[in-house]
Amino acid sequence: MRRYGNFELAEDSTQEACVEALRSWPSQGIPTRPGAWLRTVAERRALDRLRRDQRFAAKVRGMPFPRADSGDDRLSLMFACCHPSLSRDAQVALTLRTVAGLTTAQIARAFLSSEASIAQRITRAKRKIVDAAIPFRMPAPADLEDRVGDVLSVLYLMFNEGYLASGWEMSQDRSLAEDATWLAGLVAQVLPAQAEVLGLLALFKLQLARTGSRFAADGSIVMLVDQDRSRWDHGAIREATNLLQRAAELDRPGPYQLQAAIASCHATAPTWTDTDWQLLVRLYDRLLQLQPSPVVRLNRAVALWHVAGAEAALAETDALLPELPRYHLLHSTRGELLRDLGREEEAQEAWASALALTLNPAERRHIHARSAAEAR
């Protein structure tokens, strides 16, 4: 019951805080209770404003948040929102709404859902938090690693949705990816000894550092091989690599650290041809041990292409067809491999399959361009 008051109060004040903090930020003080809360929202609004700023990146780096004095409160809230007794969908929506301060409309847009269904999802989740007495505090030490895992899964989902939105309207919702990175930074600040937290944060930073060169002026995708590496944020890449080093020193390897190591291998290669493909294949092998997934195997096949040739890579991708029949990237990868082998007709068929399976406009343009390009 006590919790009821707390949560509803906090939730109600979000909206007001958005408006209020926007108006008064930063000259006016913020209400004392729930103080950390309102600060969160206020900071988020400030971030929104900064986003519109041309010099966004430079300013964000200079900003003193997430702030340590309110970090614990926000993290407790995040643990409640990501409690394992809630469904994953509910966890994501609730975290975006209450911790990141997004509106239901923004969440609905990001997940291509209707505002009404997102609102209902959030309302139900909040009811469960209240009625089932899901606590707002750090989990017991024995549960910490598992519970952190839930939080990281939610952030990972959030980031990927933002990094390459699956729908056809937004090729890329950077703000969602930035929200996830901001939240991961917060978790890392409170739990600096959790290796996978550092790994995930490093992964996000490495991906964001290369965002600027992923799309051409006309919105089409620029492949890694063609990207202008001088446009990458090398400061952020160094920062991420340091994080990864700190994570490695904790000696608790995990899938996020391995994914970050893979991203780091690409990000620190001076040119495409200098990429250490041998290392990439090894990293993918280790990742597969921890996380056997067909998507990881597909990525490994691409690295294998550069180590063992297109024939070997194609054998791998063919083996994945029964598992990932509707995954457009498998078909477009097969297109590239078949073209490399001079099997142009089959390559065209593969691209046609890929095209039929994605709605993302940038990806569609890319697939069109690849299938129309002259065979090398």
Partner: protein
């Protein structure tokens, strides 16, 4: 409330001993305020109101593989405390945690 899945006829002495210890521990701490072990669902009778008038049928109402083997009414501060108890329950294959209706 913690609802324990399981068949009430299970009488493995070792398990019963561990259940006894678990129950004693949480009764002493004040977490358990009530509860019972139930007999096997083969001894259940159900009254149904499907057609409006009550009809009496053999067996439990839940048509699932798992039946309810017992329950404990607990008074704990939050879900994590209840989960802590449920995770150490020594006997049955599942424990459901359900808040009791409070007006």
């Amino acid at each position: 409330m913690l609802i324990f899945a399981g068949d009430g006829d299970d009488n493995d002495a070792k398990v019963m001993e561990r259940v006894g210890a678990w129950w004693g521990k949480y009764s002493q701490s004040g977490a358990i305020v009530g509860g019972e072990r139930l007999q096997s669902s083969s001894r259940a009778t159900t009254v149904r109101f499907d057609g409006g008038a009550p009809s009496i049928v053999d067996g439990p109402f839940a048509e699932t593989k798992e039946t309810i083997g017992g329950y404990a009414i607990v008074d704990v501060p939050d879900l994590d405390a209840a989960l802590e108890m449920a995770k150490t329950w020594p006997a049955s294959p599942a424990v459901e945690i359900r808040p009791i209706w409070v007006d």
